[in-house]
Symmetry: C2
Subunit: 377 residues, 2 copies
């Protein structure tokens, strides 16, 4: 599993891939790791769509970690998420340690069906794993005409006000709202002030960071990134607000679903890949068309977006975006021009391909905007 | 309606009131403004409980504004909130321009009944007004054994990233979770970095403020409070995160319920009190006992709280609180010792009593910790 090149597989620093080909690559990797073609396609759609949005931290970069766990047994390639308990407008799904994307897509579709019959649906998930970008599942609901919300818990990495060290996970929260002639409004956030990757990058570059990002080993704010992640902790976004939302997510995704919680979760990246991680998640769908009337609701969302677009901008700002708009513009460009994967993603995907015995060349093409030399054999 | 003393009513700068007597005062004021005893008791319970939590910005300080609107007709003292539309797990409530507390309590109780039969319930509200502390309604659910969430829209007062001026309301969001041997976890937050009152207080004192609080007239962060609220705007908490959550709340409380939204809402304090404000709100209840098993769920919440309490504290911090813990400790002290109302609250309550023809002396008592001279007649 080391990043050692095997014959016929080489690291290309700057190649470009179409969303479809990236999806095919992810799907082939999942199949090689033992998953069914249907489940592999689900996982591949999540990862390629996420890279299409430009959210490279949560797209195919994570493929390597998932296939490691699939090969080692901590993720069950033959797992089958099932409804463990349900009522009129709710269900709890046991993920059977399947790939998080497979379980989470199943769970959101279940929430949508509950909402279709009852107006709103809640589905809690246990025995899952890292589910990638929370926004994908919220989008699944919006794509079906529903308001969607998704969230998950994770190992503690974020401080609470007054704590020395991590109390909650970075617990992602996403929502999506159907928006008629616009792409859905789509927010995908964590409860930390900034992502750990951003702190780590500053550390790698030897830069200091704003004192709002990190809580140092003594529990106080610090602008020194060198102690992260060993003894420093991410700060909660907006202090007690981010901390409070983290505990709401923990409640809905972890405690209510019967999932593992806080220190009871295993790291999907760092812990023994032969053991399940036990992550929890929660999904909500709301049938806006039935509750408000489809045309009336969509007209009001469009009007809100128009109003945001037409509002006066700050000095130096060209536009005011609604949530998700930047990601949708990147997605349109990715559909048109393909995705130029950053080098860290490319390195990770290359290693995933090695693990799975795949030949990367068949998925990628070279574009003129890559000025880097190709090391392709 | 000026703050002019009438015979027999005088401003006491430091008197103390029991929660019960404060509730009686609010109730008497609402009845004098034409409300039924039952509705008045509902409104009074919200305001006195809120002051008991020490959330003085949203308790009886607002009584003056409500009775003004009740007397002027913008709030309908004889209003009767009703279910305008409903399905298995949802309803939309038309508030009939009743006092926001009456409509919101009715709506949360409706959400609880939906959750009792379906596992989760969503209730949207239109034709409401300022509803006070969002946390009260979330607590109503937790007090009945349910997870509760409440939220509301309001006139724009918070900037978006890149905007010059307000885009969203400060849109409160609250949740409460039953917690067994502990009081419910209870978060009540707005989507702004800090409350406008805090900025205004700094302006009054001539102090500069952190540059994270306010967006100046040019749309850029400022540490100058002098232009607030005329041309400066509150900043969204954690930037795009607070802005994104504000739009989710706007969607659930405003667009989905058929309520007024953004600039279509009237200010409950500043606009013509003879006209309805049109505020929207949304309430969610989740039947945690049915979904997770009551004993199992409560045990997990208690375990989470214990873990937070036992976690290492930062330098200088004695404790790590769970959301709401500070407010519950204040509430216990208020039950024991009464509430020492701050002078701004006392001034407002005094004026409310004047409007309603009530004699304040009969509700308050003096305590030794008030060193201020009583001006009682």
């Amino acid at each position: 599993m080391a990043a050692q090149a095997s014959p016929g597989v080489s690291v290309k620093p700057g190649p470009t891939v179409s969303i479809d080909a990236l999806s095919r690559l992810c799907s082939d990797a999942f199949v090689s790791a033992g998953m069914s073609a249907d489940d592999a396609a689900i996982g591949a759609h999540v990862l390629s769509m996420t890279d299409g949005w430009g959210v490279f931290t949560h797209g195919s970069k994570a493929l390597r970690g998932y296939v490691r766990r699939l090969y080692a047994g901590g993720l069950n390639p033959h797992g089958s998420p099932r409804i463990a308990a349900e009522g009129g407008a709710w269900a709890v799904v046991d993920g059977d340690s399947s790939l998080g994307m497979v379980t989470s897509s199943f769970a959101m579709k279940t929430a949508i069906e509950k909402a279709r019959s009852s107006g709103i649906g809640y589905v809690g998930v246990r025995n899952s794993c890292h589910f990638g970008a929370a926004g994908y599942y919220a989008w699944l609901a919006a794509d079906a005409g529903f308001i969607g919300m998704s969230m998950a818990n994770d190992i503690p990495s974020v401080a609470a006000p007054g704590s020395r060290g991590a109390i909650t996970g970075s617990n992602p929260l996403a929502y999506a709202v159907p928006a008629g002639r616009y792409q859905p409004m789509l927010l995908d956030m964590s409860v930390a002030t900034v992502a750990g990757g951003k702190v780590y990058a500053a550390r790698e570059r030897g830069e200091s960071i704003p004192s709002t990002w990190l809580i140092g080993p003594n529990g106080l704010p610090t602008d020194d990134a060198t102690s992260y992640p060993e003894s420093a902790t991410l700060s909660p976004a907006a202090g007690h607000k981010g901390y409070g939302i983290a505990l709401l997510i923990e409640t809905l995704a972890g405690l209510l679903s019967g999932a593992a919680s806080r220190w009871g979760i295993r790291s999907w990246l760092g812990d023994d890949p032969s053991l399940p991680t036990g992550h929890g998640a929660a999904f909500l769908a709301i049938d806006c068309a039935t509750i408000a009337g489809e045309a009336a609701f969509i007209a009001r969302v469009e009007e809100l977006i128009d109003e945001v677009h037409n509002a006066p901008t700050a000095d130096g700002a060209d536009r005011i975006y609604v949530p998700g708009e930047i990601e949708w513009e990147k997605h349109a460009a990715a559909l048109r021009d393909g995705i130029h994967l950053p080098s860290d993603v490319m390195a990770s995907v290359t290693e995933a391909a090695q693990i799975c015995g795949l030949e990367l060349d068949s998925y990628f093409f070279e574009t003129s905007h890559s000025s880097e030399t190709s090391h392709s054999s």
